[in-house]
Symmetry: C2
Subunit: 321 residues, 2 copies
């Protein structure tokens, strides 16, 4: 039975970069109207308005590769003069030769070796400086813009819209937590304490009575797939009522969001825009969306059709096509 | 050189339960005036006003034992009929016989076995229900009041005072994170997402397509001593500017707070009040404060003299002495 009256429109900011007739925008607007209507059956108190967002492929681009992987490969090249053995040692040799096939063959073990060599063996403060310096200099290989200008403008608008409606917005990403924290506040308005991510082990070490936090070459927590609801529990301790992802690695997060008693909404960014960004889903190396596409309808997850639902993709539109 | 003019008094709420002439109250009031003075050299933007508080012995009583230990011992007794072998198996036999010497002899290994038996093997939702039910029924052995009424009123007032001055308040406790989350919002005004604590391992398990978070009998993170600055990094990602603790297990947290560039303040609750609560420090089984007492002056940590600085100890004063 459809409701007798339309829900009251929520306050500004509006979702101006979203196609007004799209199913995704309608689902968001109606959901917000329901959970913010104090007299309605689906009202959710402000304290429980928790929204979680994947990052890679959901808030910024993950093509042609994860931004953090581009960072790691650049770091290998920068550190190579101090490691002459890397010339013949995989996976480093593959990186230095630009041999993506050999890098792919090194698999997850290879990636972890690269992470250990490029993300560990320093204090958290030093790592933050390295990330910040890299981001201020690096540009996307295709769009020739800094990565932080290639966030998805409609999603940044959605974050603001949720916060204007009393939501607390969190990132829940498979990416490294300390890789994200230095820049997400400026890019998304999300403070460091609202970032959930993968972690390597960190240790408090005292030298001459002065302690510091040192990053160790050991993966401690992988915030992906079944790790996402665990990360949400550990760092947030409440079930979200709103979730957005784009790949199969987000599905358990979306399932956990649906489990909350009461209203909830889950979105999947579907990369359908070959012209402005990229069209990919079931067969992509980064951000594979296969089971999620199969299950979306059954689970009630709303697909965002990037090509048709968004009037603009990137926060700074690239100059040339 | 003393400042030419007194700092502007901060807005209400005031610290009415604190002795107006005490060094601790003065240190707090002056610190808040400095970091909130937009034109002063020590101004700290609201986003960076992070305050961290230990829980046991800092926000509520840890005598005659940690409240969570009292919970675990009660759980052992409640579960004993399902475990006939506990009658002769340590550390459970010690609990069932009330043999505190044998329990103490079982040491940390014994405590971990009790935690595994009483805190794991269930979903997080079920654990929350167990904690909530226990807290609503249990009373403190000496004061005969529910534990949540035995929070320290001046510290609750301090939390409100900090929040009124733009601070975000966090708990950073050696206690179990899921043991605290069900009640700290009502007791302290601190939401679940601002609680850092020790954790056992939690796993997302899918049964018949429905996932749930299951608690496993394995310690994952001990948020005590050198673990505290690590927990603060992982869950907050910013250096606090204000910290309060009461035992040697808080010292690394206080050191980490002092390391931040700019103004910071660290407090130690010193249990000096044998009449209203308990007088203990260097030789206590719970909340031992030994090295912290030695280092306080050198480190610039401010001692709170419970007996002389607080006009009231507990949020609900016990009826009889």
């Amino acid at each position: 039975v459809p409701p007798a009256t339309e829900p009251t429109p929520p306050p500004s900011p509006q979702l101006d970069l979203w196609n007004k007739d799209s199913a995704s925008r309608n689902a968001i607007v109606h959901f917000i109207a329901r959970v913010t209507d104090e007299k309605g059956p689906d009202f959710v108190p402000v304290a429980e308005r928790i929204a979680v967002f994947d990052n890679d492929g959901t808030l910024w681009s993950e093509q042609p590769m994860y931004v953090q992987l581009a960072f790691a490969l650049d770091r290998v090249k920068e550190l190579a003069p101090q490691h002459p053995e890397w010339k013949t040692k995989q996976p480093f040799a593959a990186v230095l030769k630009g041999d993506l096939a050999a890098l792919h063959a090194a698999g997850e073990k290879g990636i972890l070796e690269i992470i250990a060599a490029t993300h560990a063996g320093m204090s958290t403060e030093d790592f933050t400086k390295i990330v910040t310096a890299w981001l201020s200099a690096a540009v996307h290989p295709k769009y020739k813009l800094p990565y932080t200008e290639l966030t998805y403008a409609p999603m940044v608008e959605l974050l603001e819209y949720l916060r204007a409606n009393g939501f607390k917005t969190f990132i829940v990403s498979g990416g490294g937590i300390e890789f994200m924290r230095p820049w997400v506040e400026a890019a998304y308005g999300i403070p460091p304490e609202q970032v959930v991510g993968s972690r390597i082990k960190t240790e408090w070490k005292e030298v001459d009575g002065k302690g510091s936090l040192q990053r160790l070459p050991q993966l401690e927590f992988l915030d992906d797939g079944p790790g996402k609801p665990v990360g949400i529990l550990e760092m947030i301790g409440r079930k979200p009522i709103f979730a957005a992802g784009n790949s199969d690695g987000d599905m358990q997060m979306l399932q956990g969001t649906k489990q909350r008693a009461g209203a909830s909404l889950s979105l999947i960014v579907h990369h359908t825009d070959a012209e402005r960004e990229a069209a990919y889903d079931r067969h992509s190396s980064f951000g594979k969306l296969d089971k999620g596409l199969d299950d979306a309808q059954k689970e009630g997850w709303v697909l965002i059709d990037m090509k048709n639902d968004w009037s603009q993709v990137f926060s700074t539109p690239p100059a040339s096509k």
